[in-house]
Structures are given as C-alpha cells and as structure tokens.
C-alpha cells in the first residue's frame, strides 16, 4: 500500500471553493484519473495523494479536499494550517461561485500560512455554451491579486494535470529557494508518512 513512500518533498495542498464547483472531481481526476458519475457532496474533509516529478525531484502531494458549504467553514479552515498550496476553484458556468472568490481569499488570509501559493482554477471548461465568467476577466483578477490562473475540466480532463503540476512546481521553487537561503536542505527523503511537511514545522492535521 505504501510503495510510493519514497519522496524528496511532501507538500500539503488544499482544495477550496464553493459547493458543487467540482473540487472532488478535480482531485479524483488528478489522483486516479477518474471522473465520478455518482460522486457525493464532501462532508468535512477528504484526502488523497499523488507523487510527481519536478526538476528530477520526487514530490508527494498530500491533497485535502474540503466541503464547500458555508456551514463547514469552521471545521475545514483548521486544515489550512501547514498547507503550502491552495487551489481555489470556481465554476465557469456559475457567476456566484466566481464572486465568492474574494471571500475564499479572505479565509486563506485568516487561516493559512502567509507564504501559501494560491492558484485560481475555473473548472467545467467543457460547458462552453453555459459559460458565465469570461476567461479574460478571471485572468486580470488573478494577475491583480498575485495568483496563478488556469481553466480546467475534470470531466474531459483538460488542464487538470498541468494545473497540479504548475502549483506543485511553484511550491517547489519557493521551498528550494528558501532552503538555499537558509543553507540547509528542506526535508530529507522518505519522511515518514503524514509527518513532515516542508516550510514551517506543521502538522497535517488540525488540533481539536
């Protein structure tokens, strides 16, 4: 079960955004290459991992998928701690999910580490006829707020792989830069599962 336990870096990433925008399906597409036709709403938090290569290094992404409904915010925001990356997802066919992006950014400012890398993700790009949020608009918004931006479809898989690759690469760049500056290597190989996450000593879990 734990064959993929050899890695150079372990990064904790969170998936956030309104309910129904497709966070869980983005995660299953990335970690298992599956789109779940009978997916259910996420209650609390769910978790999956995948290992990829960046610059010849093995990076293990530990991804926490959170429930989108407002009521769960108190529980899910505890998981932001220790996260080095966040995918902030909206649905390109649902204007309100895009309008809420600012609220999600505030959540991150309030609960996450300040150096967290954030990527804005417009999902459901396959639904071209139903588009409600223009690509240019999100692009500008992202640039103004220092976020990277990409449009994806968990359904037809377009851009899912690049989205995760990109954010993990960015995180890696930041981490290895910091490590160079600090004159030490950040995180050795084969850290025991779930324990060490680079950047700040942090827990994968919220403390009750």
């Amino acid at each position: 079960m734990s064959k993929d336990d050899e890695y150079d870096y372990l990064f904790k990433v969170v998936l956030i955004g309104d309910s129904g925008v497709g966070k869980s399906n983005l995660l299953s597409r990335f970690t298992r290459n599956e789109f779940n036709l009978d997916s259910k709403s996420t209650i609390g938090v769910e978790f999956a991992t995948r290992t990829i290569q960046v610059d010849g290094k093995t990076i293990k992404a530990q991804i926490w998928d959170t429930a989108g409904q407002e009521r769960y915010r108190a529980i899910t925001s505890a998981y932001y701690r220790g996260a080095v990356g966040a995918l902030l997802v909206y649905d390109i066919t649902k204007m309100s999910s895009y309008e809420n992006v600012n609220r999600w950014l505030k959540e991150l400012r309030d609960h996450a580490d300040s150096n967290i890398q954030i990527m804005l993700v417009g999902n459901k790009s396959d639904l071209k006829h139903a588009r409600a949020v223009a690509t240019e608009e999100s692009k500008t918004f992202a640039a103004d707020n220092g976020l990277t931006f990409i449009e994806t479809s968990a359904l037809d898989s377009s851009n899912v792989e690049p989205a995760f690759q990109k954010i993990l690469t960015e995180i890696y760049r930041v981490v290895s830069n910091n490590a160079l500056k600090a004159g030490e290597s950040a995180g050795g190989p084969s850290l025991s599962g779930g324990k060490a996450i680079v950047i700040d000593a942090s827990q994968p879990a919220p403390v009750e």
């Binding site: 079960m1 734990s2 064959k3 993929d4 336990d5 309910s19 129904g20 995660l27 299953s28 970690t31 298992r32 599956e34 779940n36 036709l37 009978d38 997916s39 259910k40 709403s41 996420t42 209650i43 609390g44 938090v45 769910e46 978790f47 999956a48 991992t49 530990q62 998928d65 429930a67 409904q69 009521r71 769960y72 108190a74 529980i75 309100s96 025991s192 599962g193 779930g194 324990k195 827990q203 994968p204 879990a205 919220p206 403390v207 009750e208």
Partner: protein, 373 residues
C-alpha cells in the same frame, strides 16, 4: 495505492432481493454441509415467521405497547410492516389506533399547506442559494440507485429539504441532511409497492396522492429525527464536536493500542469521524444496511439515538483495529474514508449493533439505581 477516496458504490454490487425477505441467503463466511445449511435455513425461516406474528399481534392491539414494540424492533423489523413500525417508533403515529387516521390526515394536510405556501408563486420567489445547494446535493444523492435518478422523486426530496430548512433557521440546510431523508422516503414508498424492489420501481405507476403521502410522512419523520440532533448542524456543529471528543475517549478505553497508534501517527479523530457523526454512518454503509440499522436506532428512541450512535461508531472503528494498527497516517485516513463495507448485509449490521450494545452496557453512564448510595 488500493484505498482511494472514491465514494463506494455499494448498492451496485448488492443483489436486488432484499435480505429481509430472502431468508434463504446463508452467511457466506461459514462453511456448512448442504444438509445442515438447509436445516439452518428452515429454522431461520421459522423464526422469521414467529417474529412476524409477534409484530402483527402487537400492531393489532387498540393501543400498541410501545415498550414491547421497541424491544422487538431492536432485533430488526420485517420489511412488510416497517413503514408502520417506524412511524410509531418516531412518534409520528400515536400508539392508540383509533386516532391514527385523523392524525395522519391532519399532518399530511399541514405539510401540503407548507408546500403550497412556499411554492405556489413558483420557484423564482424562493431563496435561490438554498434551492441551488439542495438541488446540487440531490443530484448527488444515491446516484447509483435508479429510484433517485427520477426527477419526480428528486423534486419531492428537494421540497422536503427546502421546507425543513426554512422552518429551522438556526441550522438551515446542511449537506448530509439529504442523506438522512432517504431511508424514510424509501421505506415509506416501499409500502405502496409491496411486491417490488423499491430501488428500481417505475415511479410513473405510483399515484400522485400516494407520492404526496410519502413526501409528507418523510418530512415529519425527518423533522423528528433532526429535532434530536439539531446541534449537529448549528454553527460550528457543537453536537458533532462533542460526539467526536467522546468517541476518542471511548476508544482510549476500549482499544488503547489503537488509540496510541493513532496518536503516534498523528491521526485526529475529526479527520474521519466527522462524517460518521454528520451522516450517522450512512456514507459508510449500503443504504439497505442503514435501513436495518435504523430499526434499532429508532428502538433506542430519539433521545437515545445520538448516545447509541456513539457506541456504534466505536464498534465500527474497532472492527478494523487489526488492519489499522499496521498502517501509517495516509493509509489510515484513506482506509477510513472508504471502509470495505460494500458487501455488508443484515448480519454484519446486527453484529455491529450487538457489539455497540455491549460497549454501551459496559461504559455507558450507569442508571441511577446502579450508583453506590
């Protein structure tokens, strides 16, 4: 990696025949000679028939002895009469048979009035954010069971949840409540199609009046269920937080090794048990298993349900103790996100329930008369 977070599809692999009526399904794990198996089956059929008679005798009384009904129901309610028994256990139907028809009529009328008030102006006058949240959740409710793919059924469930939500502003609609409506809905609908598998029934053949009755009855029973666990769904969900803290304590007493292993791996109970509390384990079990489980839950009474559920969760966790103790953090979380229960039947549930009962007798708060004076 064998355990991923995919939500299981337990219904798809289960046979259509209900294990309640199918007395001939032997327990798979127990090798038996054909002959002794047949004898065992005959004995089981007999005991089912006897149990059924006992239920019938109770229900025929002018005033149903609720204590007896609870006792009998704890061991499982026959499918044919489950709808009536559940309505009695939930306190929706009175134990006195004389007033039952009147009460049903009144309650059903009341609910239809709520529907009328809310919906007669059309959907545009509704709270759109709430409508949207409920709608996307109903589309994702039991998506692998044909019944729940039917738009008539979906709209019915959406009305139930919408009306419940606006009448309970302290919590409002919270994701997961959609799951809790389905056992009632399915059991009540079953009584209108007694000879069919309700999960694949042709909905168009059921009259509008019947569907309205199912919808009203589901609304009222769901309301009663949620009344008992409302602080699971209010701000910051204190009921769930408390239950998780108690579960943790309980596991420390029941299985200290597992507890220690979780501690050393950095596993927090909230990471897996949150959903167990929020959806009463429905996400971890096939729907038919949940229905069997709710026979006993309702027999425990609405007041006792949360308490008993805690012990069921403890029994459920300890069930996988041996496997879990060999795993590391990530595998533990992933295992608990999709426990291997897809093939579970009534026997597995009954085992779980009896273990929970045992833990509760051992560790539950002792009744007053047992306290040293």
């Amino acid at each position: 990696m064998s355990n991923t977070i995919s939500i299981k599809n337990p219904q798809a692999v289960r046979s259509n025949s209900s294990s309640e009526t199918n007395g001939l399904s032997g327990s798979p794990g127990r090798p038996k000679s054909a002959e002794s198996k047949m004898l065992g089956d005959v004995a089981e059929l007999n005991s089912k028939a006897i149990r059924f008679k006992k239920f019938e005798a109770l229900l025929e009384c002018a005033v149903v002895d609720m204590e007896q009904l609870k006792k009998l129901s704890w061991m499982g309610v026959p499918e044919e009469i489950r709808h009536t028994v559940w309505k009695l256990l939930m306190g929706y139907l009175p134990s006195n048979s004389k007033s039952r028809d009147d009460i049903l009529k009144k309650k059903r009328g009341e609910y239809l009035e709520y529907v009328h008030q809310q919906f007669f102006e059309g959907k545009s006058s509704l709270d759109q954010a709430l409508v949207h949240q409920i709608h996307i959740d109903i589309l994702r409710t039991n998506a692998s069971i044909p019944l729940y793919q039917n738009t008539i059924i979906q709209e019915s469930l959406e009305r139930i949840l919408y009306i419940w939500a606006i009448r309970h502003p302290a919590s409002g609609y919270v994701q997961g409540i959609n799951d809790l409506a389905t056992p009632f809905f399915q059991v009540f609908l079953q009584s209108y199609v007694p000879l069919e598998d309700v999960e694949r029934v042709d909905v168009l053949r059921i009259s509008q009046d019947s569907l309205n009755e199912v919808e009203s009855d589901t609304f009222w029973c769901l309301t009663r269920l949620l009344d008992g666990i409302q602080d699971n769904y209010t701000h910051a969900q204190p009921g769930i937080q408390r239950q998780i803290a108690r579960l943790k304590e309980l596991i420390n007493r029941i299985d200290a090794q597992l507890y220690a292993h979780f501690q050393s791996e950095g596993v927090e109970f909230i990471q897996f048990a949150f959903r167990w509390m929020n959806c009463l384990l429905m996400r971890e079990l096939p729907l038919k298993s949940t229905i069997r489980m709710w026979d006993s839950y309702q027999a425990e009474g609405i007041e006792g349900l949360s308490e008993f559920h805690l012990y069921v969760c403890a029994a459920f966790l300890v069930k996988w103790s041996a496997e879990l103790k060999k795993m590391e953090f990530q595998d533990i979380i992933q295992f608990l996100q999709s426990c291997p229960t897809a093939t579970w039947g009534d026997r597995d549930i009954e085992l779980l329930l009896s273990e929970a009962f045992m833990w509760k007798s051992l560790f539950g708060s002792s009744p007053n008369h047992l306290k040293p004076s």
